[in-house]
Amino acid sequence: MLLSLFVVFTITGCSLIQQEYEYVAEEFMMDTFVKLKVYDADKAKAEEVAQKALDEFKRIELLTNRYAQEGTAEYAKSDVIKLNLAAGHSPVQVDKDVLAMLSLCKKYNKEFDGAFDVTIGPVVDLWGFGTEKKSVPSDEKLEERLELVDSNKMVLDEEKGTAYLVKEKMSLDLGGIAKGYATEQAAQLLRDDGIKKALINAGGNIYAIGEKDKNIPWMIGIQDPRNPDKIIGILKLKDQVAVTSGDYQRYFEVDGKRYHHILDPRTGKPASNMMSVTVVADNSALADILSTSFFVMGVEQSLAYIAEHPGVEAVFVTQDKRIIYSPGLEGVIELEKDGGYKIDQGR
């Protein structure tokens, strides 16, 4: 999967005295492109820490990959594959980051009454997302698989460092957190090494470290869910993340009806009221979980959650072509006026 690395140095020096180097590294990982832009006065350092951050992405990818082919080195390294194989049989010793991810997922599964669930694996497989063979399953089959979706039957033992899926045929799908968690880890590595300015784009998950220039924020566009050439608006971010879940990222169509990959764990079917949800927060793993959860829960319930959690904001694009954003984004978001959407500020 890790195929290449494009490397470029440019001098972007904004003052005459101090030169600032931009190091850009790009790599295909986690089924998407991961791009890092790291800025520092020390060229060698920027390169070194960017490489370290990419290595961290690779490590998390290997641990969470559940589509590796049997017999490959990737297959042997995946904790998620080990856990899925051992379901109903025995607990598995896992990496501390895998345990941390699962523990976070369990917490939000509870918080959102099952609207977010990493034990969704059997249902994802039934739909065929992640494979070439996608199809709409029957209700009976869905019911059968939903029996296996239950985070309460995922037992974590922090002391022993183990995780256990209690029922046979249960399986994990970390698609709703792995990229966000890896982005968070990579950003922390950059920060720990003293990087004050960087931009990470992990397939549309954005992490903005610092600001673009003195008192100038990073400008992050939000993709128009129905027109890949357009954006619906711009978010001005500083030391923040923006993560989007959309019905346009992975989907297939049957008889003109769109079936996308964001499944409601309670029904096993694609969540239906939203085109996209973009979450702004200060933690990428959390934002990843929230964007998926908000997509499933809908506008009202999500806004209620946001009202009680300072530091979390969101922009919703609904199926009936409305854009709703949380009050905290006033002054942070600039929406395109003639985008064909009706704009509301949520309460």
């Binding site: 290449s4 470029v8 784009n201 397939g203 998950n205 990073w218 566009g221 939000i222």
Partner: protein, 123 residues
């Protein structure tokens, strides 16, 4: 060829590109703000302003051969590539800053960048 010769040739090429660029700027009043930055084997080989009415074809040399990109009305698309899977061609058209087309096997990438516009796009 001495090192000095190489520097001289490189310098002349860069100057030629800059002059070409200046020519385009003068020729076209109407343009959108994007710049297509073309990289091959990790180096920037060309930067093309995306004019709405300036269509052109770019030939980019990579380790496997020539990748061909087409710019039509400010949109960039890979139309031919020596790579096996043609993922770069399947990526379709890009026109917004922050978007990119990457051909991993041929080590060619096209990224749209723009000053004063968006730095990246969340999707």
């Amino acid at each position: 060829m001495t090192r000095g010769d190489k520097v001289l040739i490189g310098g002349v090429l860069i100057m030629a590109l800059i002059l070409l660029g200046v020519g385009y700027v003068q020729k076209n009043a109407q343009h959108n703000s994007g710049i297509a930055v073309i990289r091959a084997e990790g180096q920037i080989v060309r930067e093309v302003e995306l004019y709405l009415k300036e269509n052109q074809e770019l030939r980019i040399e990579g380790p496997l051969g020539t990748s061909v990109a087409r710019i039509v009305e400010g949109r960039v698309q890979m139309v031919s590539s020596p790579c096996r899977d043609k993922i770069c061609i399947k990526q379709g058209q890009i026109s917004r800053s922050g978007q990119s087309i990457v051909c991993v096997p041929n080590e060619v990438s096209i990224t749209i960048e723009a000053k004063g516009e968006v730095d990246e796009i969340t999707r």
